[in-house]
Symmetry: C2
Subunit: 298 residues, 2 copies
């Protein structure tokens, strides 16, 4: 069913009548198309669902183009990022084209869908900015972290689920909760993977987020349990290129206090709630998508 969404995205890009832009867009890896998958699962593959899913995926792609410029990223999904291939300016401009074309098409969709999705884009723009600025200092505020990842990542997944429910005439609130939980859990897991996944070059976790100043959930939990001296030590390592022994000290502390399990648990609870909601609603496809997310990379 995703094939129809891919074709719709291609058509929207062809509409622009700009071969150079189409060429850049063709180099953006499609990724998992999680948002489109959820929408098709919730609402089937009618034309307005396919259009809405294509719009959401174009918005997601545009946001990643800009994020990679903001984060000075050189890779995305294991391949060279668009800013790395075509330069930052091209990534900004093609992102703007994708955003505006997506909004142009969104006008023709149901008004409540258009409000939901456009509101999510406001949230994700604010969230991406917060992500950058929160990295300036060591953040110990869990609520601020959750709000930021909600805005940056979950808002669009939530809106995608809600929009699909609206289009399908299903009760939108449970789908909205499902999407929000999945989105927040997805970002939490992503942040945990930065700590537990071995980097290809190092053969051990690179702790990139912390180096960039991002105090993700495990760091917030670790800070909470450390004694005063170790609290200061952790803070002193924030936003720095870590030496090998410093990296190992952090990893040892995570292990000592069982932090990674605690953070995983928090993500799993959100996913379990999402699974339960969909069990009750008899939405087994959505249950399966949520279960798959738990298995992701652990």
């Amino acid at each position: 069913m995703l094939e129809a969404v891919e074709r719709k995205i291609e058509q929207y890009v062809l509409d622009l009548n700009e071969p150079d832009i189409a060429k850049v867009v063709s180099k953006i890896p499609a990724g998992k198309r999680l948002r489109a998958k959820l929408m098709l699962e919730i609402a089937g593959n009618g034309l307005s669902v396919v259009k809405s899913a294509a719009i959401v995926e174009m918005i997601h792609a545009a946001s990643l183009l800009h994020d990679d410029v903001i984060d000075d990223a050189s890779t995305r999904r294991g391949v060279d990022s668009i800013n790395a291939i075509f330069g930052n300016k091209s990534a900004i401009m093609v992102g703007d084209v994708l955003y505006s074309k997506a909004f142009y098409e969104l006008i023709d969709i149901d008004r409540f869908v258009a409000k939901s999705i456009s509101n999510a884009v406001v949230q994700l723009s604010i969230g991406e900015r917060k992500d950058v600025y929160m990295g300036d200092s060591f953040n110990t505020d869990k609520a601020a972290y959750i709000e930021m990842i909600y805005q940056k990542t979950a808002a669009l997944i939530e809106a995608a689920s809600e929009s699909a429910a609206i289009l399908a005439g299903k009760p939108k609130d449970i789908y909205k909760t499902y999407g929000r939980n999945l989105g927040i859990a997805f970002q939490m897991i992503d942040d945990i993977l930065d700590i537990v996944s071995d980097s290809k070059t190092l053969g051990k976790p690179a702790l990139n987020d912390f180096k960039e100043g991002k105090t993700t959930l495990p760091y917030i939990y670790l800070y909470e349990v450390l004694n005063t001296e170790d609290k200061e030590k952790l803070k002193s390592l924030h936003k720095r290129a870590l030496k090998l022994n410093e990296q190992e000290w952090i990893l040892a502390k995570f292990k000592e206090y069982n932090i990674i399990e605690k953070a995983k648990q928090e993500a799993f609870e959100l996913i379990n709630e999402a699974i339960e909601i969909m069990q009750k609603a008899g939405e087994h496809g959505l249950e399966a998508i949520a279960i798959k997310m738990v298995d992701r990379s652990f």
Copy 2:
């Protein structure tokens, strides 16, 4: 009447509940608010007109934030640009927030207005990209230049006029033509001013556009009339830091062939057509705005 538009923009920014973003936005110089002025002149100051004008001005501001990053500009309207004050990343992110908030509010306006304005944003994103890439080589194609400035500058002015006419229940086509003519002429005049205005530091025209690779209308006309040898010389100076004698050679050639007058004439014809249309329609306020544009800086 513009005061109501300014207050609406402020309210939209306050809605975001992000004081840091509001602070950045407050540093964006308001400019002439040409688009809002046209809209109020066409459609009066009812709430939906004021909202639409605020949306168009937010879109315009967002596009300038991104343009200044793309063009490595350090000033805008005589003051430091947002990217110069807060950095490129901040300009990109705040631009995205303004764009998305504008689109979110646009959903609640008349559907035809929303289509017109969102289509203009697609055009201006494509136009900005063309402006950059056309600067890679010496462009002698007048039609390509006109299309690019139409997209980059005139499309949003055209959509603003058309949208106001729709909201006022006036015949939209003449207002659309008026806006398009004004927009194209506005950009042509801007491009001419780069050649005839003395730079503050040099005391003579800096020919910045040509240095950046932009072959604007006067250069296209000049190339058409030069002999083969001088054609090559002009091309050899393209996209380079010009020496004093090279700059003087270009200015002498412009004078010899009366090129600036010819380019001005082309802009004036567009404006005259716009004035005539509005004379016939009895729109004296719009006539006056067009007349003022001719007087601008010559």
